[in-house]
Amino acid sequence: MLISPWRSIMFFLQSLLSGILTGGVYALAGIGMSLVFGVMNISNFAHGDLMMLGMYMAYFAFTLLHIDPYLSLVLIIPTAFLFGFVLEKVFIHRIISHPHQNQILLTIGLGLIMSNSALLGFTSDPKILTTSYSSSAVHIAGGISLSVPLLLSFVITCGITGVLFLFLSKTTTGLALWATSQNREAAQLMGINVAKMSALAFGLGTALAATAGALIAPTYYIHPMAGHTFLLKAFTICVLGGLGSVVGAGVGGVIIGVVESMSSTYLSSDWKDVVVFIIFLMVLLFRPQGLFGKKGEQ
């Protein structure tokens, strides 16, 4: 049977829009990782596990305290920030001048501790966070429908990204953070306390990871090993956008969201992650500095 052109256009638009909505949340995770990379020059392999902790925080806030997952962000963001800040002060800052493989291994170790503690504490059974609006959708013109939780997540993501940009571009602390990210030595010479900036960046990165986790909690299975998939996605996003570029990570996130959604629609959802990783390798092959990265750093 021939599908009418009208329907296939709608099909395409539907896929594009849901891709953009999911991509927004990916962007948030990517921005967190890119911020840490930019300021500290560390690939944070615990990022996915921090997202997983955010998912569990949203889950327990909902089941134990009966707080709506989106409202619980008010609690999750400061808690996660504090957690990341302490992690940096206790572990990460000690290896900031080590070879990068040691940094990767330390964060892998921290990630293993987090995911396997979650496995011990919360068991391996996947948990599902079902809100009253979990399966409801908004219908817009032409039979396109958008899932309510995804739409809410996207709106919140835009809000948080906006606030983050205002912070980075308007406040003194934010500008200091931005400067450290551009050139750590020069920033230090200008009297910026780069050690404080590192802890701040890691705290912010953790808060963003946990927020992304909490935002996808209502639409994904929550389990201790969930971080694994998101870690690799966050890396792809960062490399695509240019390691260390916050704007790039935002754009990269949306691109990856759309690519995933398109490949599940037109290929098969089993292969969508493969497509994402192939794009990752293509970026390394043809444009290793990423879309927004500075040339010559790779």
Binding site: L105, G109, N116, L120, F277, L284, Q298
Partner: protein, 331 residues
């Protein structure tokens, strides 16, 4: 004493060990795991330790060996050795693709790209039909030149042989031109390039050797266990365990990976078989009926990865050169 002599002596002791201890299947089983991890980690060390290129995706080569061998045996009636050779070819192709993409780049990129390649291989094995998908591949009886492959001993000696070969290559690397080039690349890539060393050629050479050895171990493992699926042979966890073993023993040292395996594999075995949980209950430290007792009994068996995580963090913070690094400092 020369290192060659030490390798020969230790290999000799390991070779007669099963004759002395008798064929306790459990002991031989644990020894096979130790030898396999020591060999995997030594093979990884050729690339990671001497060329300074940390691969976080060595499971791809292990899995390539394992999958190719079993597919060749069960579908095309190859004998296990033929399957092993086919596995080496597939692993080398994957290695060449990875190497040609990322060895032009430096720093974080090789590590990230090696994970991406390994994940592509894993997801492909999970989604294609000829690899058995999520169910994996089961192998029925197999024999080679009348040797009984139901016994564990052929695999014990197989793993030992690969370990000795890996150590031999590492030793050769330390005093050959290729080895010096690789160490120069590890210490300062730009300086090495300015002296006329072809960076990507030598990095690819190290990667190919490492991948081929890893793939042979994958083939041995697959025929030994006779069942493989993606979570057993292609998981990121395996890649990380290989690195941890090298790190804990000492990266870039001849014996580091073997020392790491001798320490970590039995530890994992102890945790997995839940000896600690049972001992706590037995000695009355924790009552069997109490909540804590039940919790320990149910969960401590899964805790070995958690312990790996804690060891990694402590090792990077306090012992970044590994256990052998400790001795080196006092020299």
């Amino acid at each position: 004493m020369k290192q060659v002599t030490i390798i020969a002596i230790i290999a000799g002791i390991a070779a007669v060990l099963p004759l002395v201890t008798g064929e306790s299947p459990y002991f031989i089983g644990v020894m096979i795991s130790v030898l396999m991890m020591a060999a995997l980690s030594s093979a990884w060390n050729i690339l990671g330790g001497y060329a300074g290129q940390y691969s976080f995706g060595h499971a791809a080569y292990f899995g390539a060996g394992a999958y190719t061998t079993l597919i060749m045996i069960s579908t095309f009636n190859f004998n296990p050795l033929g399957g092993m050779v086919a596995g080496i070819i597939v692993a080398c192709i994957i290695a060449l693709v990875t190497g040609s993409i990322v060895f032009r780049l430096r720093g974080h990129y090789f590590g990230l790209a090696s994970i991406a390649v390994a994940e592509i291989v894993r997801l492909s094995a999970l989604n294609f039909e000829f690899t058995g998908g999520a169910q994996g591949i089961l192998l029925s009886d197999v024999s080679l030149w009348g040797v009984d492959l139901n016994s564990k001993l052929p695999f014990y000696y197989g793993m030992l042989l690969v370990l000795v070969v890996s150590l031999g290559i590492t030793l050769y690397m330390r005093s050959s031109k290729t080895g010096f080039y690789l160490q120069a690349i590890r210490e300062d890539q730009d300086a090495a390039a300015s002296l006329g060393i072809n960076l990507s050629f030598y990095k690819n050479k190290a990667l190919l050797i490492s991948a081929a050895l890893t793939s042979v171990l994958g083939s041995l493992y697959a025929v030994y266990i006779r069942f493989i699926d993606t979570s057993a042979v292609l998981d990121l966890r395996l890649s990380i365990e290989i690195i941890l073993t090298a790190i804990i023993g000492g990266v870039g040292t001849l014996w580091g990976p073997a020392v790491g395996a001798v320490l970590l594999v039995p530890l994992a075995e102890v945790l997995r078989s839940n000896v600690i949980g049972e001992a706590l209950v037995k000695h009355g430290i924790v009552s069997e009926k109490s909540g804590l007792g039940i919790f320990f009994k149910d969960n401590l068996a899964h805790a070995h990865v958690l312990v790996y995580g804690i060891i990694t963090v402590l090792c990077i913070l306090y012992l970044p050169k590994g256990i052998l690094g400790l001795f080196r400092r006092t020299k």
